[in-house]
Structures are given as C-alpha cells and as structure tokens.
Amino acid sequence: MKPCNLLLLAANSLLWLGVWSGVATMPALAESRPHYGGTLRVAMKEAPQTLDPAAAGVPASISRMIFETLVALDERGRPQPLLATLWQSDLGNQRWRFFIRGGVSFSDGSPLDSVAVAASLHNSNPQWKVSAAADMVMIETESADPDLPAELALERNSIVRRSASGGKLSGTGPFVIAQWDAGKHVSLTANEQYWAGRPFLDSVQLDLGKNDHDQMLSLDLAKADVVEVAPESIHRERAENRMVMTSEPVELMALFFAHDPSSEDETHARNALALSIDTAAVNNVVLQGGGEPSGALLPNWISGYAFVFSAAGYAAAGNTTAESMDRARQERAQAKHVLAWTLGFDASDAVARVIAERVLLNARDAGITLQLISGGSPDLRLVRIPPSSSDPHVVLAELAKVLQLPQPHCENDSTADLYSAEKVLLQSHRVIPLLHLRSAVAQRSNVHDLNPLPDGTWSASNVWLSGEKP
C-alpha cells in the first residue's frame, strides 16, 4: 500500500474514531442540556374539584402551570415582576397602580389587558376597588396595605379569564388545560404562545387523589416521574436512594383552641400544655426529622426570629426536657379548676393521629387530661396549615385568617413590627405552634430542573426530561 494511502487510511481512521467518539459523547452532553419534548407525569395527594385558583384547595404547583399572577416572589420573598412590570403606590399604600405586561395572551388567544386583569382581581377580591385604564390597573384598598404586591403573588390572585358560563378557564401560564377530570386527572399541554417561551415539556399529566403509598409505587413502577413525599417519609425515601427534593420548613403544625381562655386557670393550663409537648421527640421519631420544632407561627427562614419564641420564659412549645416538664407541672398546679379537653385531629392522617396521641401522653404527664376525637367540635385541634407565600407579612396575615385570629397590625414592614404582631397573636393563647414541616417531592432520575421553591411549591416551567426523544 502506498504511504499516502496509508496516511489517508490513518487519517480516515482517526477521523472516524473522532466521529464515533463524538457520537459516543454526544448523548452524555445532550443529556446534560435541556431539550424539548416529553411528558411529565406527576402524582399528587390533593384532589381539587376545580382548577379555578380563586377557589380553595387548588395546589399552587398546578395553578402556577396554568395561571400567573401580576407579581411573583423570589426565594427571599421579595416581589418580582411577572404579569405586571411595574407598580406604584400612593395615599399611604392605600392605592396601587400596576402596569400590565404587553404581548401576553391567554390560552384562548385573547390578549391580556387591564380590563381582563381588573375583572380577575375583582372576582377574587370583591372588597377592593379595581379599575382598569389603558395598560394599568388601579387597586384601592379599604386601608393602607403595604403588602399588596406580595398579596398579589398569592395563587388566588392569579389572572384568570373565565368564560361567560364560568366553566372554561384560561390563563397565561406555560401550560394549557387539555383535559380535566375533576378530582382524578388533569392533562396539560405546552402553551406554544407562552410569553416567556415555550416550556421544554410537551405536556404534563397529573394523577390526583393518590395516597403516599400509591404515589411511591407509581414512582417505582415508572408510572410517575414526580410524586409527593410526606415529611415523615423523607428520611426513609432518601435512605432507599430515591431522589428527594425538600423545601424549607414551611407548613405549620400547631394546636389551635376554638375559643379564647375563659379564665386565668385555663390560661395556665394552656401554658402547661405548651410546655409539656415534646416536639423534638415528635420531629425526630414520628416525623423522622421531616420538620423543625418551633415556637413561632412563622418559620425562621421567613421571619429570622423564630428561635426567640422557643426561649425559656415564654410559654411556648419547645424541646421538652425534665425542666420543661417541671415547668409545665408548676404551671398546671396554678390552675385549680380545669376540665378535660377534647383534641381533634384528621382521622385520615395516620401521622396526625400519632402526634395527637403523643400530645395526649405529654399532657397527661403534666396533669392535663385530653380526650382524642376525630369529629364534632373539639376544644382544640391539631392543624396543618400549608404555606401561602414566602412574604412574612402575607403569611402571618393568612395564618391569622385561617386560625380566625385578629388580623395582625403592622405599621410598617419592619422585622420588629412583624415580631410584635406575631407576639400578639401568640399571647392570645389560642394557638400553640409545634413544628414547621418541609415539603418534598421524589423524582425519577430523568427529571431535571424540578427545583422546589422555599415555600414548598415547585414549577414545571423549566423542567425537562432526559432520555425522551422529541
């Protein structure tokens, strides 16, 4: 063979070798880069009967795929522009103007304008005075509301176009409703006209009303790509090498009294109850570390001062030690006439039952008699309140609203003001915070960029799937 032929052969070989090497490495490189296509399959426990974000019970993770708000909160809880590009306030934060982003349309093709925005906001907040003008929406509240932008980030204030009959909902989100089977299944397809760019996923399939066991089974059988993980299961699922993404401790678990204390004796008894509860044992054993004991209504990552409420001298739940139990007994001894209380809990939640029983045992050790009931009108109830926002003022206001406590009054948005407002709520002796629970999801390895937000929600707008051909 001629040398040049040999050289040509060697070069050809080298060339092909490089090509094949490239081909071999291309999938690896391709897998690390987002690409379009694929269907994300999600299993969830909630089973909403409507997708209207103004209704209660619609998971934020679903709502955000279809609808958008004027304002979004970043990971630090700061309002960021979304459908509104700019906002201004006057009259001491009693009147606000929000300038609507242009070039955005609803999934039904109709443009997003101030009229549509005003109509949507008026529907979810009848007490506001909302008016539309050009590309601006003006909102007037009954009193000064410096947190209005953060409130507009709440899912219930999503901008929705409702059909005349109210049956069809259109949003401006990255996905569009393709099929809706109330409480069972919802199919979403990518919004090709999404103003922020088409999402990577072609579609999202959500199976609703699945319990924890079925969700995990679906994940293991590759019938679901993303499933929810209960706080008490985080540790176990990670121990079984599942990919679990957790949020900050966001969901408040607390004991809530139906009425104000009727006497000083009852106040002492409530203090004693708070001191007797071994929240560390509950978190470490029952929840397997899936939460964070807390004596505050707001988690520490939101308020920054939650640890203050766990300090001694303030009657709040904390890690029980012998001293804490002694204090509980002393507090109880000051109450001469205390009747037994009934403690209600969600009978369908096995973990809630165990926690309630633990509270009963701790209370009994302190000399307080509790009786567990799963229905009726108990004296106090073990409640779980999911997060509504990452803005502390909004969260505190929403908590007060859910717990039927007086709305906190903040002069300004300073931390001290917030602390004082929360302290007032706690000193009402109506609520005993126990823990803040983390939200978590487990995902398959082909799911990428599913990053849960600190508030426990997640978004599929940037999710892409590997191993799926477009």
Binding site: D278, A281, V285, V286, Q288, V354, A356, E357, L361
Partner: protein, 616 residues
C-alpha cells in the same frame, strides 16, 4: 262442722297434700338433675375455655417467638445495643409486624424498659414499660394494656432477643374480645361473657363483652361481678399457666334468685401476673329448660289438684250419701225421741254397719217404748201403792182414835147412863175432831189430784218474786221470833210464758218452807235470772239443811220432815214446775242451809197472741 264437710275437707286435704308432696319431690328431683347436668356442662365449658386459653397462649407465644426471630427484631436489637441508639427509624415496625403476625399488641422494649416501637400505641415511644423490669416468665399471661381508646385486656407473651450484653424484649399479645369468645364452641343454651375488670372497685357496664351481645343487660351480672371483685379469689400458686383461673363462683343472672332466675352464671376470675383480678369470665347456662319443666310440673300438679278436688267433692258427697245420711237420720230420730216422740224410727237401707246400727236403733227404740210402758205401769202401780200406803198411814191415825172413842162410848153405855153421859160429850168432841182431820186429809188429797193445767201468760219473774216476798212479809218480820233478812238478787230481764197463779203458789211454798227452816234467824235469798230460752229462780235459806236421804225423797207426796206437815207442798211445787216443762232441784248440806233451784223454759211459743202480762 258437719260430717259431710269434714269428709270433704279431709279428702281435699289428702288430695292436696299428696299432690303437693309428689310435685315437690318431682320438682326437687328435676332441679337436682338439671343442676347436675348444668354443672357438667359448665365444667366442660370451663375446661374448654381453659384449653382454648392455653392454646391461644401457646399461639401467642409462638407468634412472639417468631417475631423475635425476625431480622427486624435483630436489627432493632442491634440498634438498641449501640451506645446512643436511635430508635426513630423503628417507629412503625411494631405496627407492621403486628399486622403481619395478626397480633393486637406488639411492643419492642429495650432492657431499660424504654418502648422503642408500639403497635397499639405508636406515640408511646420513649415511655417506660414496667413489665420488663424484671422480665416476667416465658409463659403467656394476662395483662391490662393501655391503649389510646382506654385500657384493654389481653393475652400476652414475652421473648427476648439478645444483642451482645444487651437484650431486646418483644412483648405481644391478642385482645380478649368478642372474637376470642366467639371462638369458644358453646352448647345450646349456654353463653359466655367476659368482663374486663379495668376498674378494680366498680362495675362498668361497657366492659362486659359478649359473643353475641345484642341482648345483654349488663346490670344482670353486676352483683356477681361485684362479689368476685370483693372476694378476689386467690390461688396459692401464682398464675403460671393460663386457664388456671380462680375458683368458680356461682350466681344467678337478673334480679331473681333461686329457681326463678333466667340463667345460672358461673364466674371464673382471671388474674394476672401479680394475682390481680384482671377479668371475669362468665359462663351462663340457661335455665329455660328447667323453667319450662318446672312450669309443666306445676301445671300438671295444679291439674291433678283440681281433678283431685273434684273427686274429693264427689267422693265426699258419695260418702256423705252413704254414711252421713243414715247417721243424720239416726241423730234426727234420737232428737225426736228426746223430744218425746218415742215412735221415731230409722229406715234401714243397707246390710252394713250403718244398716245394723239403724236396726239396732230401731230395736232399742222399741225396747225403750216397752220398758217405758212397763215403767209407767210400774210407776203407776208404785204410785198407787205409795198413795195407798200414805193414805192408809194418814187415815190410820185418825181412825184409831175414832175406834177407841166408839169403844169407850160402848163401854160407857154398858156402865150406865151416867157414865155414858160423861163420856159421850168428850167422845163426841174427839170424834168430830178426828172426822175434821180426815176431811182435811181427803181435801188435800183431792186438791193434789185436781192440780189445774197452767194457763200461760207472760210473767215477769222479778215482779212475781217481789209480790211473794211482800205477801210473806209478816212471817219474815218475825212476830214473836227473830227477823229473817231478805236478800233479793233479781235479774230476770226477759219475761217467760207461765201461769202466774201456779208459779206464785210454788214460790210461796218454797218461801214458807224456807221460813220454817229458819226458826231462829237467817237469811232468805231469792235469785232470778233469765235468758232468751229459759229462766231460773233460786230460793235459798240458811237453816239447818237437809240430809241426802231427805233430798232424795223431798218431792215424794206425803213425805215431810216437819211436824204437822202434809208432805204435799213440795210435791205440788214439783207438779207445777213439771207442768211448765221445767225442772226443780235441791242443793243442801246439814247445817248449811238449803237452796231450791227452779229452771223454766221460756215457752214463748205457748203464749197466746196479744196476751197482756199479768201478775197476781
């Protein structure tokens, strides 16, 4: 009570006593037989329960042993052996394993008594289980377990899993509940209940568990359970083996006792490791069969008694017809004869003793008639002879002087006219006196023979007595003699039918006799009394009294103890009393006075209508 009613009562009593005795004996035998059978069934059921209990205990032991042998237990034991064990990961293990092994209770406890995982109360992790310090025996045992729903009674076993120098305790068991009771095979008519003695001092109705509890009234068993609680039977040995329960205590369900109880209940105390009373097994045996049998016996007894009563009535009636009628006829005939109808006869209709008695009675009656006739004739002859003797005696006295006087006159005539003239006047006087005497004798005799029949009128005896006393007041005053005290005890409230003149005469005779019997002084007592059917008069004196001989002959005509007496006074009194249908008697002792008692019938039927009451 008549013989017929006595016979009826006797027959009825015989029937009742017989039926009652038979019923009692049969009932006692039936009860005894039922109790024996019930005891046997109960003993069998208790034995079955003990076997089932032992079997269940063995089953629990095997399951716990199996749990202790699992890898999960080993894993937990290894974790517990570490210096700072983290039990959090084992929270749900007990519940999972318990479900797999079909256990109602399961706990993993370290050797310090700290609960690692509990199926019955998951929230109890970290709390102490006192049972394991010290660790009890390997045999199954009863235990009261605390659960969120309250205390529960269970059959437990315990095993240990070694891990180095530490150990893990596995405690598990099954709940003694309806399912356990339902596993017992019960004979018909028996039921078993379990009382969980979770409150040692009180009876809690909600803790009484029955296999089929739709009709249980817990209060029926409250007294028995309280008795068991108070007794709290202890056995000398610890309860090492399940089923070796305490002594059986018998009782009855419902508030009734004895044979009226619906069930016989046997209570078997169930004790725990420390011999504390944890439960009571109640084995109830229905007494329905016995109750039904008793009812049948009672009904049969009542029927037999009713039939017996009817037969007693019929038999007594037949016996009466057969026996008492002839006797009644005899009695009637006897009354007739007593009433004066000596011709009464009894019809003899049979040849038996009653017929013979009737024949004998008739024969006796005829003999009595003959004898009465002969007696009457004899008495008449005797009376004539007595009368002739008396008359001869009375007449002889005046006749002798008459004869002497006539003989004197004849001698005087023979002695001359002068002697005759001297003797004639004296003799004539004597003759006239004796002739007068004879005329008196004849007059009294004639008077006695002409005693009139009583003319009945209503007579007040008290008033009559008063009149008689007044009439003889002069004699009683005692002119020329000491006075006689008069004592009147008159209480004849009811008038009688009598002849007032004749009674006056009779009473006068008695009063005169009494006065003459008290020549010195004394007391004359007149007593009267009356009733609806009769009256009585007593005349008593305190004179010298009479001898027995005098009393016997006192009423004989012409018998007298008085000088110059005619002997007819008391005979007249007797005749008057007899004519009134009465009776007179005398009671006297020498030196103690005399009492004459006249008893008169009321004789109101003899009163003419609208007859006014008259007294002399």
């Amino acid at each position: 009570m008549s013989l017929r009613r006595r016979l009826l009562a006797l027959f009825a009593l015989t029937v009742f006593v017989s039926v009652a005795a038979v019923t009692g004996i049969v009932s006692a035998m039936a009860r005894s037989a039922f109790d024996r059978a019930n005891d046997q069934r109960t003993a069998a059921l208790v034995a079955q329960f003990r076997r089932e209990f032992a079997r269940r205990g063995d089953e629990v032991s095997r399951k716990i042993q199996a749990v202790a042998a699992t890898s999960e237990s080993s894993r937990i034991a290894l974790a517990a052996a570490r210096p700072a064990p983290d039990y959090s990961v084992f929270l749900d293990d007990a519940q999972t394993i318990a479900e797999t092994q079909q256990l109602d209770f399961l706990e993993f406890v370290d050797d310090q008594g700290t609960i690692i995982s509990s199926s019955q109360w998951p929230a109890k992790f970290g709390y102490k289980e006192p049972l394991v310090t010290p660790i009890p025996s390997a045999d199954p045992f009863l235990k009261e377990e605390e659960t969120p729903a309250g205390p529960a009674l269970g059959l437990f076993a315990i095993r240990t899993v070694p891990a180095g120098d530490r150990k893990l305790c596995v405690i598990g068991g099954i709940h003694l509940d309806k399912t356990f009771l339902a596993s017992l095979e019960l004979p018909a008519g028996m039921r078993v209940l379990l009382y969980e003695n979770l409150d040692r001092n009180n009876f809690l109705p909600d803790h009484l568990i029955g296999a089929a509890d739709s009709t249980i009234d817990p209060q029926e068993f409250a007294p028995l359970i309280r008795q068991v609680q108070q007794t709290n039977v202890q056995q000398s040995n610890a309860q090492k083996s399940v089923g070796e329960a305490g002594a059986v205590i018998h009782g009855n369900a419902n508030s009734n006792s004895g044979d009226d109880a619906d069930e016989t209940v046997n209570a078997i105390p169930l004790t725990g490791e420390s011999n504390q009373l944890l439960g009571v097994l109640l084995v109830a045996s229905s007494r329905q069969i016995y109750t039904e049998l008793s009812g049948q016996i009672r009904s049969a007894a009542l029927l037999a008694a009713a039939v017996g009563l009817v037969m007693a009535v019929l038999l007594s009636s037949w016996a009466a017809a057969r026996v008492t009628r002839p006797v009644e006829e005899l009695a009637h005939a006897a009354r007739e004869i007593a009433g004066g109808n000596w011709n009464a006869q009894v019809k003899s209709t049979s040849r038996d003793e009653i017929g013979q008695l009737a024949d004998s009675f008739n024969h006796m009656t005829r003999d009595l008639l003959d004898q009465r006739d002969r007696l009457v004739q004899a008495e008449r002859v005797a009376a004539w002879r007595e009368l002739a003797r008396r008359l001869a005696h009375e007449l002889k006295n005046p006749l002798f002087p008459l004869q002497l006087t006539v003989e004197n006159l004849l001698r005087a005539r023979e002695q001359g006219q002068q002697q005759f003239d001297e003797t004639f006047q004296e003799s004539a006087s004597t003759l006239l006196a004796e002739i007068s005497h004879l005329k008196t004798i004849v007059g009294r005799f004639s008077e006695f023979s002409r005693m009139p029949q009583p003319q009945f009128q209503a007579v007040d005896l008290d008033q009559l007595a008063g009149v008689v006393v007044k009439l003889h007041k002069a004699q009683l005053s005692g002119v020329g003699r000491p006075p006689i005290e008069i004592r009147l005890e008159l209480s004849a409230a009811e008038p009688i039918a009598a002849d007032p003149e004749l009674l006056h005469r009779a009473l006068s005779n008695l009063v005169l006799n009494a006065i003459e019997a008290m020549p010195d002084d004394g007391t004359l007592t007149l007593r009267t009394c009356s009733s609806r059917d009769s009256a009585a008069i007593e005349v008593s004196d305190t004179g010298n009294g009479l001898s027995q001989e005098d009393c016997a002959r006192l009423f004989t005509p012409y018998y007298t103890s008085k000088v110059g007496g005619t002997g007819l006074g008391l005979a007249i009194v007797q005749s008057i009393v007899s004519d009134h249908g009465g009776r007179i008697s005398v009671n006297s002792e020498p030196g103690q006075g005399t009492t004459f008692m006249i008893e008169l019938p009321a004789n109101r039927d003899k009163l003419p209508t609208n007859t006014p009451k008259e007294n002399p």
